[in-house]
């Protein structure tokens, strides 16, 4: 557990240096995904978390390296490219799904979206879509989110 946290903290310290290489940005994205799980509640609480990353092989590798098999909320993380059940889906094409934390373009219906602001990785949220979904996302997390005008 300690080791994992140290890895994540290390990754987060890389935030300032992100943008310099796609690997470090992916590693920071992996850390973000890990923390997102802490602030999201699924109405059907899963026995393990499936993180699906079908499009971006580099990100999948980075996420898989740092999160695969780790425990969050006492549940194991599985990183896959495709699955019947995705608890977290990172993709440019996000289908409508009630029980999935979708990370992708907000205009295409995703709940969260990674954005780089001033060379730093941030995330945006679409409150309207979040309200419609069956997920509960903590206001603690949403306070940090970039909110689009129409949301």
């Amino acid at each position: 557990m300690k080791k994992r946290i140290l890895t994540i903290l290390f990754l987060l310290t890389c935030t300032a240096a992100q943008g310099q290489s796609s690997v470090s940005e992916d590693a920071v994205k992996a850390a973000f995904i890990f923390h997102f799980i802490d602030f999201v509640e699924w109405s059907d609480e899963p026995s393990e978390f499936h993180i699906c990353i079908p499009d971006d092989a580099n990100l999948r590798t980075a996420v898989s390296e740092s999160l695969e098999g780790k425990l969050v909320k006492n549940k194991k993380i599985l990183v896959v490219n495709q699955s019947d059940v995705c608890h977290i889906l990172v993709s440019d094409n996000v289908p409508a799904a009630d029980q999935t934390l979708t990370i992708g373009p907000l205009e295409k219906g995703a709940l969260l979206e990674f954005r780089v602001v001033n060379n730093k990785l941030r995330f945006a949220a679409n409150l309207e879509t979040i309200r419609k979904s069956k997920l509960k996302i903590s206001s603690q997390l949403l306070k940090l989110a970039i909110l689009d005008k129409n949301s």
């Binding site: 946290i5 310290t13 923390h35 909320k73 730093k120 995330f123 603690q140 306070k143 940090l144």
Partner: protein, 407 residues
């Protein structure tokens, strides 16, 4: 007519007002201390709740390294005037962000670790000061001073009847004491003068008796000679009585200076000067102390006690034992004889002046000696008493304070 207040009343009045004012001030100080602790605990509770809120809000900012969001949260502290500084540190000890409202050390400094789901993220350091403490204390001081100033005349007015009553009693007491002192002085003076003046005609009578008995010895019959002998005896007794009264009044009148007196030596000297009859043995049994006392009075004391013992011993082998015992803060002296003893009902009476148990014809006693003993002992802060059983001898005991002991 209004009489001037005696100084004691002024002192009582001053003391009363002063103690009232001090009590009030103390009460105010007490309230001030209570208030201080109240402010302290309130501040602590406030800072603690501020920390909890901050930690809750700062958790995601530390997780996502979002300094801007953290700064926005800290900016909300503008509405908390008691905070001086807030610093947030990351797990590696580096400062993440800070809010500095007043760059000076606070009265209260708290540090708490920031955790999320049991994972350490960093720590928060918060420095705060007690808001309005100085103003509150200034108000307290002013109110206390005002109350004290107002209460002094109130105390003065309230205590007036009591003061008048006490004043009256004290004035009466002073008057009575003065009268008593004067009367005592007059009495002593009278005793001294009367005794002194009586001695001269008495000496004249004694001389006349002498002349008559020598000039008219062939003209007087046996009856006349016997009557003249009785007259001479009565004159001698009267002389002794007058001497006793003189000594008694002298104890009170003379202010003798205290000197270092070695009682072993003093008692020996007294015994030597007394010409104790051969059949009586006087023994100093224990080592006696050296005390700071009036020497002549101590001589008189032992002289009277020893001559009293010598006078009454009725045994063929008389024994007088002198002892000194250290007891707490005093020394206890005892003079024990193997004389006839005294019935317990006379224990008090024997110390009264002119009181003799045996008839004057038997003992030639004046009844002044033990009264002088009592006066000397009491004048020196001690007490005197007798322990005795008829037929088993008598022990006279007296105490002298150890504080006068010479090391």
């Amino acid at each position: 007519m209004k009489t001037a207040q005696p100084p004691i009343i002024k002192k009582i009045m001053l003391f009363g007002i002063l103690s009232g004012a001090i009590s009030l001030l103390l009460a105010c100080v007490g309230f001030g201390i209570v208030e201080f602790y109240k402010i302290k605990s309130e501040s602590l509770a406030r800072v603690n709740s501020q920390i909890e809120i901050l930690i809750y809000n700062l958790q995601p900012t530390l997780l996502f390294e979002d300094k801007e969001a953290a700064d926005k949260i800290l900016l909300s502290l503008q509405n908390a005037p008691s905070l001086n500084r807030v610093r947030i540190y990351k797990n590696d000890g580096r400062e993440f962000t800070a809010y500095i409202r007043m760059d000076q050390d606070g009265d209260l400094k708290l540090t708490k670790s920031i955790q999320f789901e049991g994972r350490p993220l960093g720590r928060i350091e918060i420095e705060s000061h007690y808001v309005g403490l100085r103003e509150r204390y200034l108000t307290y001081a002013l109110v206390s001073l005002l109350i004290t100033i107002i209460s002094i005349p109130c105390l003065f007015i309230i205590s007036a009847p009591l003061r008048a009553q006490v004043g009256k009693s004290v004035a009466q007491l002073v008057e009575t004491t003065e009268a008593l002192k004067r009367s005592n002085q007059d009495l002593e003076q009278f005793a001294y003068v009367a005794s002194h003046d009586l001695k001269a005609p008495l000496r004249g009578i004694a001389s006349l008796v002498d002349w008559i008995s020598s000039d008219y010895t062939d003209k007087l019959d046996d009856n006349g000679k016997e009557q003249l002998g009785l007259l001479a005896k009565r004159v001698r007794r009267m002389h002794d009585l007058i001497d006793g009264i003189l000594q008694y009044s002298k104890v009170q009148r003379t202010k003798e200076e205290k000197t270092s007196v070695n009682f072993n030596e003093l008692v020996k000297e007294v015994i030597d000067s007394m010409a104790v009859p051969e059949h009586i043995e006087v023994k100093i049994e224990g080592p006696l102390p050296t005390l700071l006392t009036p020497r002549i009075q101590m001589e008189q004391l032992f002289q009277n006690l020893l001559s009293n013992a010598v006078k009454f011993i009725d045994k063929p082998r008389g024994l007088i034992r002198i002892n000194g015992t250290e007891e707490g803060d005093h020394w206890r002296f005892s003079i024990a004889d193997n004389g006839p003893g005294i019935d317990s009902k006379y224990y008090e009476k024997i110390f009264q002046i002119f009181q003799t148990l045996a008839s004057r014809e038997e003992t030639e006693s004046t009844g002044v000696g033990l009264a002088i003993v009592k006066k000397i002992v009491e004048n020196n802060g001690g007490k005197v008493w007798v322990e005795s059983q008829v037929g088993s001898g008598t022990t006279f005991l007296f105490t002298l304070s150890k504080s006068t002991a010479v090391v």
